[in-house]
C-alpha cells in the first residue's frame, strides 16, 4: 500500500509541484530580504553622511570653534549620541567627543585622522548593536570621524525573517495540499480508465466503457480513443462469433447432404450407376462447400482490413463492359437487356480484380432477381471527390425493410429462397467496397426496381500547372 502510494502519479506530481513552489518562494524571499537590507543600509548611511556634512560645514565656517559651538548648541538626543573626533594620521587629536556608553576599545584603537573614504565602518558592540563610523577628509589635513551606535542589520531584519519563515512554511504546506488535490483530480480519468480496463481483463466484460469526462483535453481524447478501440474490439468479437454461428449453420446442411450421398454410394448391393451418381453428388457438394469457405474467408479478410488490394488508377467503364460481356449469354437466356452507361472515363484507385468481382456480383444479383423483359443498367459517374458505380434494374426491387439486411452475410431475402446462391454475393461486394474505403447502399430506382450505388472515394490530386 505504502509502495503504491509512493508510486502514485498524483502524489509524485504534488511533491514535484511543492518542491518547485518552495524553490520559487525561497528565491522571492531572498531577493526581498536583500532589497530591504540594502534600503535600510542606505537610509542609515544617508543619515550619518548628513551629520558628517553638517559638521564638516561647521568646521569650514568656523574651524574648531565652529564645530564645538555646533555641537554644544544642539542638545538633541541625536547630537548627544554622536561620537565626533578631529584628528591627524600622526595621532594628534584636536577634538574628541565620546558618548557616555562608548567604552569599546576597538573604537578607541581606531587611528585618528585616517580617512575611511566612502565606506562606513561597522564595529559590532553587542549582538544587537553596531558602532557605525563615517569619516570626511577636511581641506587642511584634518580628518573628521563621526560615529553612532545603531541597531545591527541582523536584529533589525529578524522579525522579517521570522515572518518569512512562517509565511513560507504555511504557503508550502498549502501548496502541497492544493497540489495533491489538483493532481488527484487531474489524474481521476486515468484511475477510471485503469479501473475499467482491469474490469475488462478480470471479468471479460466487453461492454464496459470508460465514462467520458467533460472537456476536450488530452485525457478526454485518450478516453474517447480507448472507448472507440473497445467498440471496435467488441464488434470484431461479435462479427467473429456471428460468422462462426452462421458458418456452422450453413455448413451443416451441405455436410449432411454430403454424408447422405456418401452413405448411398456405400450401400451394399446397390446399383453401380446409382452409386456413381451419389459420388458425383458428393463431389458437387464438396465444391459448393469449398466455394462457400473461400467466399467467407474473402469477406472476413476484407472486413478485418486484411484483404490485400493491388490498387492502381484505372477507368471504371471497362470493368462494367467486361461484366456485361461475362453475363451476356446469361442475360440473353433470361431475356434481360444489359446496358452500360459510362459516357466519359471515371477514374479511381482500385484493385481491378476485386472491384470487377464486386461489379460481377451486383450484375449477377440483378439478373437473378429480375424477370424476363427487364432491363439492367451499369452506370459509372464521376462526382465531387468520388467515383460512383450504379447498378439498377427494373425488377421487383428490394423491400425497404430488407435494405439493410441484404448486405448481411448468408442473408437470403424472403422472395428469393428458391434462387440458387450462397447468400454471400452482396456481403462480399460490401466488404470489398469498404476495403477500398467506399460505401454501398440500395434504394429504389426511378420507375421501380432495385438500385445499388457504390461510392468510391477519389484521392485525385490535382496540381495546378501555370500556363506561361
Amino acid at each position: 500500500m505504502l509502495e503504491r502510494l509512493r508510486q502514485s502519479l498524483a502524489l509524485r506530481l504534488a511533491w514535484q509541484y511543492a518542491v518547485v513552489f518552495a524553490l520559487a518562494l525561497a528565491v522571492t524571499f531572498s531577493a526581498l530580504y536583500w532589497l530591504l537590507a540594502g534600503a535600510f543600509d542606505a537610509r542609515e548611511r544617508a543619515a550619518l553622511e548628513h551629520s558628517v556634512a553638517d559638521l564638516a560645514g561647521a568646521y569650514a565656517r568656523g574651524g574648531l570653534a565652529g564645530v564645538n559651538s555646533r555641537i554644544t548648541s544642539d542638545s538633541s538626543p541625536e547630537m548627544r549620541s554622536l561620537f565626533v573626533r578631529l584628528g591627524r594620521p600622526d595621532g594628534t587629536i584636536a577634538y574628541n567627543k565620546w558618548p557616555e556608553d562608548w567604552l569599546e576599545t576597538r573604537v578607541q584603537q581606531l587611528i585618528p585622522g585616517v580617512s575611511i573614504e566612502h565606506e562606513i565602518l561597522r564595529i559590532p558592540q553587542s549582538a544587537a548593536r553596531d558602532y557605525t563610523i563615517a569619516s570626511s577628509q577636511l581641506p587642511d589635513g584634518w580628518v573628521l570621524h563621526v560615529g553612532r551606535l545603531m541597531d545591527s542589520k541582523a536584529v533589525f531584519l529578524a522579525p522579517l525573517r521570522r515572518s518569512f519563515a512562517g509565511v513560507g512554511a504555511a504557503a508550502l504546506l498549502l501548496s502541497l495540499a492544493v497540489g495533491t488535490l489538483l493532481a488527484w483530480r487531474a489524474t481521476r480519468p486515468l484511475r477510471i480508465v485503469s479501473a475499467t480496463t482491469r474490469r475488462i481483463l478480470e471479468t471479460g466484460d466487453l461492454d464496459a466503457r470508460v465514462p467520458a469526462p467533460r472537456g476536450s483535453g488530452e485525457l478526454t481524447l485518450l478516453v474517447h480513443q480507448l472507448n472507440r478501440l473497445l467498440d471496435k474490439d467488441a464488434t470484431h468479437v461479435r462479427v467473429l462469433r456471428e460468422t462462426l454461428d452462421n458458418l456452422a449453420h450453413d455448413l451443416r446442411t451441405p455436410l449432411t447432404r454430403l454424408r447422405a450421398s456418401a452413405e448411398l454410394a456405400l450401400r451394399e448391393g446397390g446399383d453401380p450407376a446409382e452409386a456413381r451418381t451419389a459420388l458425383a453428388d458428393c463431389v458437387d457438394e464438396s465444391d459448393r462447400l469449398l466455394h462457400l469457405l473461400e467466399a467467407l474467408l474473402d469477406i472476413s479478410a476484407a472486413e478485418a482490413s486484411a484483404l490485400k488490394l493491388h490498387r492502381g488508377r484505372l477507368d471504371l467503364s471497362p470493368l462494367l463492359v467486361r461484366a456485361a460481356d461475362l453475363y451476356r449469354e446469361v442475360a440473353e437466356d433470361k431475356g434481360i437487356a444489359v446496358l452500360v452507361d459510362a459516357p466519359s472515363p471515371v477514374e479511381a484507385d482500385v484493385d481491378a480484380i476485386r472491384l470487377g468481382q464486386a461489379v460481377n456480383n451486383l450484375l449477377d444479383n440483378a439478373l437473378k432477381y429480375s424477370p424476363a423483359g427487364a432491363r439492367v443498367t451499369l452506370a459509372a459517374r464521376a462526382e465531387a471527390g468520388a467515383a460512383v458505380i450504379i447498378v439498377s434494374d427494373t425488377g421487383p426491387g428490394v423491400p425497404e425493410a430488407e435494405r439493410e439486411a441484404v448486405f448481411r452475410r448468408l442473408y437470403r431475402g424472403e422472395a428469393c429462397r428458391s434462387e440458387r446462391g450462397l447468400g454471400l454475393g452482396l456481403s462480399l461486394v460490401k466488404a470489398v467496397v469498404e476495403a477500398h474505403g467506399g460505401g454501398i447502399s440500395v434504394d429504389e430506382a426511378p420507375g421501380g426496381g432495385a438500385r445499388f450505388t457504390v461510392r468510391l472515394p477519389c484521392q485525385i490530386q490535382t496540381w495546378e500547372i501555370p500556363v506561361s
Partner: protein, 223 residues
C-alpha cells in the same frame, strides 16, 4: 508418358502419384526442390507438377533454373491459396499452368493432359474436328454431319476449345480461363449457360458434348 511430381506433403503427393499411375502415366516423385531439379535435368519428362512451397529450393526457383538449362518440359504449378500474385509469379518464372489447393484430381489430370497435348502437337491446324463435327478457324465455319451451323462468337470459342481437347475432360475453370479469359472463378453459371446453348445447336441428341459430374465437360468421348 512420364510425369514428374515435386511435392513435399506426403498425403497430396501419394494422392497425385497414385491417380496419375491409374491414368496410365509413369510417375517419378521428388519431395524437395533440389531433388526435383536433378531429376528434371537428367530425365526427359512429358510434364511436371511442381508445388510452389518446397523445402531446400522453392518451386518457382526450381523451374526458373530448369528453364535456364533449356528444359522445355511443361510445368503445372500447385499453390496453397488462390492469389493473383502467386499466379502471375508462377507463370512469369516459366510455368505453363497453375492450380490452387484444394483441387480436384480430375482438374489436375485435365490440365496435365492439356499441357502434354499442347507441347507435343505440331502448330495448330486451321480445321478442328471430332466425329461428325468440324470447325474451321479461318472461315469460322462449323458443320455437323455436313450441315452448316451458325454459332455466336462465344459458342464458337467454346466449341474450338472443346475440340482442341476432344476426348479429354476440361473443367469449368479451364473453360473460363481460355474462352472468357477469366483467371479466377467468378462463381457463376455462365459456363453452364453457354454450354447448354452450344449443346442445343451442335448436339441435340446429347451424344457428343457430355457433362462429367464433378469435373466439367468432355467432347467426343465416343467418337
Amino acid at each position: 508418358m512420364r510425369v514428374l511430381v515435386v511435392e513435399d506433403d506426403p498425403k497430396i503427393a501419394s494422392f497425385v502419384v497414385r491417380g496419375l499411375k491409374q491414368a496410365g502415366y509413369a510417375v517419378d516423385h521428388a519431395s524437395d526442390g533440389d531433388t526435383g531439379l536433378a531429376l528434371a535435368e537428367s530425365t526427359d519428362f512429358d510434364a511436371a507438377v511442381v508445388d510452389i512451397m518446397l523445402p531446400s529450393l522453392d518451386g518457382l526457383s526450381m523451374v526458373r533454373r530448369l528453364r535456364a538449362a533449356r528444359k522445355p518440359v511443361p510445368v503445372l504449378f500447385l499453390s496453397a491459396r488462390s492469389s493473383v500474385d502467386d499466379r502471375v509469379r508462377g507463370l512469369q518464372s516459366g510455368g505453363d499452368d497453375y492450380l490452387t489447393k484444394p483441387f480436384a484430381f480430375s482438374e489436375l489430370l485435365a490440365r496435365i493432359q492439356a499441357l502434354i497435348r499442347r507441347a507435343t502437337h505440331s502448330p495448330e491446324a486451321t480445321r478442328l474436328s471430332a466425329g461428325d463435327v468440324t470447325l474451321d478457324l479461318v472461315t469460322r465455319e462449323v458443320t455437323r454431319g455436313g450441315d452448316r451451323i451458325e454459332l455466336q462468337p462465344r459458342e464458337f470459342s467454346l466449341l474450338a476449345y472443346l475440340l482442341r481437347h476432344a476426348g479429354r475432360p476440361v473443367s469449368k475453370a479451364m473453360i473460363l480461363e481460355h474462352v472468357w479469359d477469366y483467371s479466377f472463378d467468378p462463381q457463376t453459371n455462365v459456363v453452364d449457360v453457354v454450354v447448354s446453348r452450344l449443346r442445343a445447336k451442335i448436339d441435340p441428341e446429347r451424344r457428343r458434348l457430355e457433362t462429367v459430374r464433378g469435373v466439367g465437360y468432355i467432347f467426343g468421348r465416343h467418337a
